[in-house]
């Protein structure tokens, strides 16, 4: 395992654990992330990927361990972290009766952000929804709804992106938008943790690769010169039998 030193601007967690209903969803996770890094997290279903993302987003309190995100403590300075982190979850967090534009404005407003004039329109334009920006979300397809959540991600400038299965329901075109946006995010020094099953897309975006199995981080390495087939083989070996 490779760990860069604890950095104030980055992410650093130690011994993170979460117990749910008498089992550990996550245990003993150490993780460091430096500015510009994108960690792609692979792992079987139920391996704790979502829990880890939720802890980093301050949605879930860890049972054990501690961590710092952008210099703010994961448990004590949750509000600070919330200003610097954006999460893309399974649920869209969209109100069906509001338009895409209204949804985005509301999401920004409750975070205390006043998006610049035209920023909402520009974000929707970028994900190809400029024309339906004022349609009620209820009338849009699930692919389009997913694009709205992507636009919401683009709206704010934050240090850390937490993306949970971002490719679900995204077509090729939207995936390209996500990839380009992530590239820009990295260049700004932004960090990202992406949880996915999608080897092809996930591998492409990663600067670091990690495998989570049964709540433990069993691999965490820079992508370096590793190729996808090698990594897949490694993954198969390490997670054999449901990830023991």
């Amino acid at each position: 395992m490779v760990h860069s030193g604890t950095s104030v601007v980055g992410v650093s967690v130690r011994g993170l654990g979460k117990a749910f209903r008498g089992t550990w969803a996550l245990r003993g996770v150490d993780l460091d992330l430096a500015p510009g890094e994108t960690l792609v997290l692979f792992g079987p279903n139920g391996s704790g990927k979502t829990t880890l993302l939720k802890i980093l987003a301050t949605l879930v309190r860890p049972t054990r361990g501690s961590g710092v995100v952008s210099g703010a403590d994961l448990v004590r300075a949750r509000d600070q972290i919330r200003h610097r982190v954006e999460i893309l979850s399974h649920g869209s967090a969209l109100y069906e009766e509001l338009s895409a534009r209204e949804n985005l404005s509301f999401a920004a407003a409750i975070r205390g952000d006043r998006p610049a004039e035209g920023a909402v329109a520009a974000a929707l334009e970028r994900v190809g929804l400029g024309e339906v920006a004022d349609e009620r979300v209820r009338t849009l397809s699930s692919g389009m709804k997913r694009r709205i959540t992507l636009a919401r991600l683009l709206l704010r400038r934050v240090d850390l992106w937490l993306l949970d299965e971002p490719y679900t329901n995204l077509d090729r075109e939207a995936t390209k938008v996500l990839e380009a946006a992530l590239q820009e995010h990295q260049e700004r020094g932004g960090m990202a943790v992406i949880a996915t099953h999608n080897f092809l897309d996930g591998f492409k975006l990663a600067t670091r690769l990690a495998i989570l199995a049964r709540g433990r981080l069993i691999l965490d390495e820079p992508r370096g010169t590793m190729t996808l087939p090698v990594f897949q083989e490694l993954y198969a070996l390490r997670t054999e039998g449901g990830g023991r």
Partner: protein, 220 residues
């Protein structure tokens, strides 16, 4: 069995026996109500103990929300359970007393209704706890009910004071009680409070053991 538990258990047993003997045998029958009145020795201490129990629920609920430590939550849970039992005893003895005195088992007397409401509130508290699987979450939700429930208890009591009521004025409040009845009543009250402490201690120990088993299963 731990020492505190044994002491409390023996103390409660002795006091209950003494209290019952004083109330049911030694004390003179009531001038107006006769023998029926003796049920007061169970009825009054049990509701007062229930009030005590729900006050403990309030305090430990606040403690849990503020400090977030399991101990407060266990205390709140245990006290609510015991409080519900004592409220049930109050309602039950009240009904037994009501039949010969008012002629019916149940009447829509305001204080009676208030106690029934109290019973339902804390029954809801326990039900909520049993439904929520995650322990911390159950604790937090229950704490909210525990806090609101306490104020509800006071408010219901207040609203009752305004309502026309069949119930005789609270015996203790009015100071109308004869000293010959007062001593057995006080002994019974003490007995119930110690009994409450005993139940609470047992329940807390059980909860602590439960959580220890759970922690062991987690591989702590």
């Amino acid at each position: 069995m731990d020492r505190l538990g044994v002491t409390l258990g023996l103390g409660a047993g002795a006091l209950v026996v003494a209290g019952l003997w004083m109330g049911l045998v030694q004390a003179p029958p009531d001038a107006v109500q006769g023998e029926v009145q003796r049920i007061m020795y169970l009825h009054v201490p049990s509701i007062l103990t229930a009030y005590l129990a729900f006050t403990v629920v309030l305090v430990s609920s606040i403690g849990y929300l503020v400090r977030g430590t399991r101990g407060w939550d266990r205390l709140a849970h245990a006290s609510a359970e015991v409080g519900v039992v004592f409220t049930a005893i109050t309602l039950f003895t009240g009904a037994i007393w009501g039949k010969p005195t008012w002629g019916v088992w149940w009447t829509w007397d305001a204080r009676l209704t208030g106690t029934a409401v109290l019973f339902m509130v804390y029954l809801g508290y326990l039900m909520l706890r049993s439904v929520v699987e995650d322990q911390d979450r159950a604790g937090r939700y229950a704490a909210v009910v525990g806090i609101l429930g306490f104020f509800d208890m006071i408010f219901t009591h207040m609203a009752v004071e305004w309502f026309r009521t069949l119930h005789q004025p609270s015996s203790l409040q009015r100071g109308t009680i004869d000293t010959a009845l007062k001593l057995p009543l006080n002994v019974n009250l003490l007995a119930f409070v110690v009994l409450y402490a005993y139940f609470l201690a047992r329940r807390l120990r059980l909860a602590a053991l439960d959580e220890a088993v759970e922690a062991r299963d987690l591989g702590e």
